[in-house]
């Protein structure tokens, strides 16, 4: 039934897998990121949670880049014809911003880790050490450590923007499903039937 590539009416297996996998990882990482402050500083379990957060974030980065490439070579199904131009603009803007965030948030996190005074290596799910961003890690110490706080602030602001956009995105999906009663949510759900109205 469902195939790898997107069609005119629904998303294919690759796009759906990437969407839901990234969604699960992003939600987990937003939760973990918000939980950091509840640990006392220097608590060994905080360091473990940060390692998991870093591993998940870097996975999001890789998957998001793959997803972006997949989207560029594999056009997504168009929005339903009945949507007003304003609503279409809002939908596209939210999607582009979400793409920007799922790449920019892990990048800013990777950059702040590379500038960190603690210099704790990133153990990618305990499998191997993920390198730091070279040009940041090799900066003179004062310059490097001076970058850490601004980068941390950027990472945090971007994460809060993601929370707002995710809420908006979910609300929009539910609005399509229950108020507009169109196929927008269904076509991203594995195993659902979407009528070809074109």
């Amino acid at each position: 039934m469902a195939i790898a590539a997107n069609t005119r009416t629904r998303y294919g297996n690759v796009a759906m897998t990437l969407h839901w996998l990234i969604a699960a990882l992003v939600l987990t990482n937003l939760y973990l990121g918000l939980s950091f402050d509840s640990y006392p500083k220097g608590d060994p379990s905080l360091f473990q949670v940060v390692q998991i957060h870093k591993s998940i974030g870097l996975s999001v980065l890789v998957l998001s880049l793959a997803r972006l490439i997949w989207r560029l070579v594999n056009p997504v199904p168009p929005l339903p014809a009945g949507m007003s131009p304003l609503l279409k603009f809002a939908a596209h803007a939210t999607h582009y911003l979400l793409y920007f965030l799922i790449i920019a948030i892990p990048l800013s996190g990777w950059a702040m880790v590379s500038a960190s005074r603690l210099s704790i290596p990133t153990h990618y799910f305990g499998l191997f050490d993920w390198p730091n961003i070279g040009f940041i890690a090799n900066m003179p110490l004062d310059q490097k450590h001076g970058l850490h706080e601004p980068l941390e602030a950027i990472h945090t602001y971007l994460a809060w923007s993601a929370i707002v956009l995710v809420v908006l995105h979910v609300a929009a999906a539910l609005y399509h499903q229950f108020f507009r009663r169109d196929d927008v949510l269904r076509r991203m759900f594995p195993g659902t039937r979407v009528a070809d109205k074109t």
């Binding site: 006392p40 220097g42 608590d43 210099s119 704790i120």
Partner: protein, 184 residues
């Protein structure tokens, strides 16, 4: 038996080692801290709160002793974020182990102004021998002592989890002490 008390008194007189001069640490002109290689760069911090009781006489090293108590929570590197982690359970664990203590066991004279103190360091609940070489210059009633002890932090369990390995934070920590003291 009428001489018994005198005898006892005499025993005490000879049994007790002669007192070495007591030195008062001039806190404003003294410093205690450490340096450790962290990500191949030196990381330096000082302790803001510590006290030392020192009896020292170059002519009577057997009677000399030093007892240093350090508030581990008073460490300061100038970066409060990093310090908070170091003070946490992964580092000093200051909540459970608020003080570290060095008690000398012996002093030896090497040459000129060079001495070596042997002692026991209690840090994070672990007591291990530590060697502290130092130079001492005494000018009248004032003494200036500068020393550095190599402390292997892994032996004391300072640095667990991410900091258990010698990378990024080296095991060998140089504890630097610079004391100016005066005699009454």
């Amino acid at each position: 038996m009428r001489y018994f008390p005198v005898l006892i008194g005499a025993l005490f007189l000879f049994a007790a080692p002669a007192q070495a001069a007591h030195w008062n640490v001039d806190a404003a002109h003294s410093k205690l801290g450490f340096t450790v290689s962290w990500a191949k760069q030196p990381f330096t911090a000082t302790f803001q709160n510590w006290k030392a009781s020192i009896d020292f006489d170059p002519a009577n090293l057997a009677a000399s002793k030093a007892d240093v108590t350090i508030a581990t929570g008073s460490m300061n590197s100038g970066d409060s974020d990093t310090d908070a982690s170091i003070k946490g359970d992964i580092g000093f664990g200051v909540d459970k182990f608020p003080t570290a203590r060095f008690v000398s066991t012996s002093f030896t004279h090497k040459s000129g102004n060079d001495y070596v103190a042997q002692g026991n360091l209690t840090l994070k609940g672990v007591t291990k021998p530590v060697t502290l070489p130092f130079t001492l210059t005494i000018a009248g009633k004032q003494a200036h002592m500068v020393g550095s002890a190599s402390v292997m932090r892994n032996l004391f369990g300072v640095g667990t989890g991410e900091w258990a390995k010698p990378d990024p934070v080296a095991w060998d920590v140089k504890v630097n002490i610079d004391i100016t003291a005066t005699q009454n």
